[in-house]
Symmetry: C2
Subunit: 290 residues, 2 copies
């Protein structure tokens, strides 16, 4: 077992250009955690983003060890959040679940827990009130997370998810939430899929960078038509209309130098051999991002 | 034939509360133009919003006369636009088509031509450049429209349509475009479905009202899950999570006193008897909007 888990350790000599690349587990859902780790290591991809549910099924400690043994890094854990319940019992249960997520992130050795806020409770129409419940929850969770070396990363989701998944729809809103807390405790996730359409993003990236709030940078392309439910319609890098390289350059210019995590929810990718998809992602990353 | 086409003329005495209501033809696609007009008149609904394609199929002059004869008003014509082509020939063809739309609006006696900007051309990634082509087209079209008593009404569509349908995604962007031109020539459409999620809407409505830019107010509710393609997933008033009454009150407070046009694209409504849907819309309007 190696304890060297620096980003980029152990990658093949010709893969230095992938030194910032991370593969989110959802991009290759067909791969088990060991398969994912082996595939990334073989290609010189130094990071993986993990999800709670498959990690729990595999075993959190075990997952941590498999990644560590391969010399890879867990760049983020997805996801905490869903903190908008108006029923106090539900809201407290969500807090407890998020504390568990923090523990899992700490075990995995990642400092980034992605938070998806949650949507409107059934029958509710007040987005601002729901956002306030998220803020109150973060106020409770952030110290707990900080003590464990984990930063909460608020992810704005595309406005098409505002009612059922995430009441935080723009980078501006995410920053307004995050800025109520110390930057080392609460940051934001910048995801091209959710933000590409918003003309305010360049100025908001500057704002986010200045205060050190960019906790994670995730990539997917925007393609249409959207599938039913909109959730699984993300595009492979280069298949859509997002200026991924321009976006990455802006994020870098804002002072972010961390992992670039590819997170593409797309059933077409899941039907193909996972290692083939990993190779394709690496190639697309070189062509469209780096 | 009557020539009295004031809004609200000829409605039953007990329907004074519907005096601002207009039914967009797409809400009851199963009704012919004469059926739509008869159904609205019977319920005391004084306005209809029409679409170019069914109007052309029926005959523009003839549609104008049917509406006029019933003492109803055409509150808007949908839609011009699709002005983002980067190919000059396509762009000029779009201009010509929009001049025809202006002529049709004038014939129908409506002063409001709704413009949906158009999406990104195939392979393009530059939203700002596409918006500039829209601005240039409006610069050409607005005088032509103004001479015919027609105001161009820029409609921001939900960001989920930014790539394939409308590069103008927010009320703020629509106003920035409109404000390059005189308010009597170019306004904006405020549609609850497209804008409900955006926290900046209240301040942008004030801005729009102050400069007299609100050319039309359209209503649909937001419901999930979105259907494939996202286009036909609008909710009947009251079925979703939009605070329709609060929204209408803000639009009124901004100084708008014009028609409130219900435009719900929803195949479930089209499968029911059209007059039943009209009655339901009137009831929902009373319950959730007025």
């Amino acid at each position: 077992m190696t304890t060297d888990n620096r980003v980029g350790a152990h990658h093949p000599a010709d893969a230095g250009d992938l030194v910032r690349l991370s593969i989110n587990q959802q991009t290759v859902r067909q791969l088990s955690i060991p398969q994912l780790v082996r595939g990334c290591r073989a290609l010189g991809i130094p990071g993986v983003g993990l999800w709670r549910s498959p990690v729990q099924a595999f075993g959190v400690e075990r997952a941590a060890q498999v990644v560590r043994d391969a010399g890879l890094t867990v760049t983020s854990l997805c996801r905490g959040g869903f903190l908008t319940a108006s029923d106090p019992r539900e809201w407290n249960a969500a807090l407890a679940d998020n504390r568990a997520a923090v523990d899992e992130a700490a075990t995995l050795g990642t400092s980034t827990l992605v938070l998806v806020s949650g949507g409107l409770p059934a029958g509710a129409k007040d987005l601002a009130a729901a956002r306030e419940r998220v803020a109150e929850a973060i106020d409770r969770l952030a110290p707990y997370a900080a003590e464990r070396g984990v930063r909460l990363a608020i992810e704005p989701l595309h406005p098409m998810f505002a009612s059922d998944r995430c009441v935080v729809s723009t980078l501006s809103q995410a920053l307004e939430l995050a800025e109520r807390f110390p930057a080392e405790h609460v940051g934001v996730v910048v995801d091209t899929y959710h933000l590409w359409w918003d003309e305010r993003v360049p100025e908001q990236l500057v704002r986010a960078g200045r205060s050190g709030r960019i906790a994670a940078f995730q990539l997917a392309d925007w393609v249409t038509p959207l599938p039913e439910g909109a959730l699984l319609g993300r595009g492979q890098l280069g298949d859509g209309c997002v200026d991924l390289r321009g976006f990455r350059e802006r994020v870098d210019a804002a002072g972010y130098g961390g992992p670039v995590e590819v997170e593409v929810f797309n059933p077409q990718l899941w039907q193909r051999p996972g290692t083939e998809v990993l190779e394709e992602v690496a190639g697309r990353y070189r062509e469209h991002v780096r």
